[in-house]
């Protein structure tokens, strides 16, 4: 067992465990921390896959930003200790498991249709160099347009969030 496989197993455990906690916990805060664990695990996966930049972005934006936002959201709403409804989860589970089965079948039944992907070759060696990622963002031939659209999206989200949040006579009125 190589270090990589060990790391993978540890991260997989963390990721799935975080997801389960998110699903199963009785406190929203626990769920948020479970989400955090899961996101950190995904960041680890990115490292293993060679995408350092994305891993760090994941940590900065998701763990340092989005999860904190959720925590704020949790703190600003009343404690909600809802009972876990087995029935609801079971009903949803039918769909979810069906989806899982179909997805797995879709992937594992994909003989000869991998489009250049070699599932046994391993991650790309050397990883994604940050300079190349930056060039890809700024390349007219590559991702410049989506990049600009994303920047506009962020601006819109910023303005929109401010606008929604500053609504007159909000809670308590």
């Amino acid at each position: 067992m190589s270090a990589e496989i060990l790391a993978f197993l540890v991260l997989a455990t963390a990721t799935v465990a975080g997801g389960v906690v998110t699903l199963w916990s009785r406190y929203v805060v626990h769920s948020a921390f479970g989400l955090m664990l899961s996101l950190l695990g995904v960041a680890g996966f990115y490292v293993l896959l060679g995408s350092d930049f994305l891993a760090v972005t994941q940590v900065v934006v998701y763990v340092g930003g989005v999860v904190v936002l959720y925590l704020f959201g949790v703190m600003l709403t009343p404690p909600d200790r809802e009972e876990r409804s087995i029935r609801r989860i079971a009903v949803a589970g039918i769909f979810a498991v069906a989806a899982l089965v179909v997805l797995l079948k879709a992937v594992f039944g994909m003989e000869g249709r991998w489009y250049g992907v070699d599932p046994d070759r391993g991650p790309a060696s050397g990883g994604a160099v940050i300079r190349e990622v930056g060039n890809a963002f700024m390349d007219k031939e590559a991702y410049l347009l989506p990049f600009e659209i994303a920047s506009v999206l962020l601006l819109v989200a910023l303005v929109g969030a401010v606008f929604i949040a500053r609504r007159e006579g909000g809670r308590g009125s």
Partner: protein
């Protein structure tokens, strides 16, 4: 030293996706639902990066870029969605998705 097969990553991503889906479907709190959406987004991003990485350097670059866009999207989504949730709470004093029903009937 054998590398980790791609299918392992995919399996984890699918599991994560299904967990997110379950959260979205079964929880009765808007904040939970948003968290489930985050899980789903992460799962899809992971699939992108994993496939990209197993295609080689160029594929990894594309996977990284798409993953970055998903992160951006998720950040914007979380911001707006949480603002809306807080507004809903301010109006209806509830974060249950079924409570804002002024338009119903």
């Amino acid at each position: 030293m054998s590398p980790v097969p791609l299918h392992w990553y995919l399996a984890v991503a699918f599991l994560l996706f299904v967990l997110g889906l379950l959260v979205v479907l079964s929880r009765r709190n808007l904040i939970y639902i948003l968290m489930g959406v985050e899980l789903i987004l992460n799962a899809s991003s992971l699939v992108f990066v994993a496939f990209g990485s197993y295609r080689g350097a160029k594929g990894l670059l594309d996977g990284t870029v798409i993953g970055t866009f998903i992160v951006v999207l998720a950040a914007a989504e979380a911001t707006i969605a949480l603002a809306i949730v807080l507004n809903i709470f301010g109006t209806f004093h509830s974060v249950r998705p079924e409570d804002p029903n002024l338009l119903k009937e």
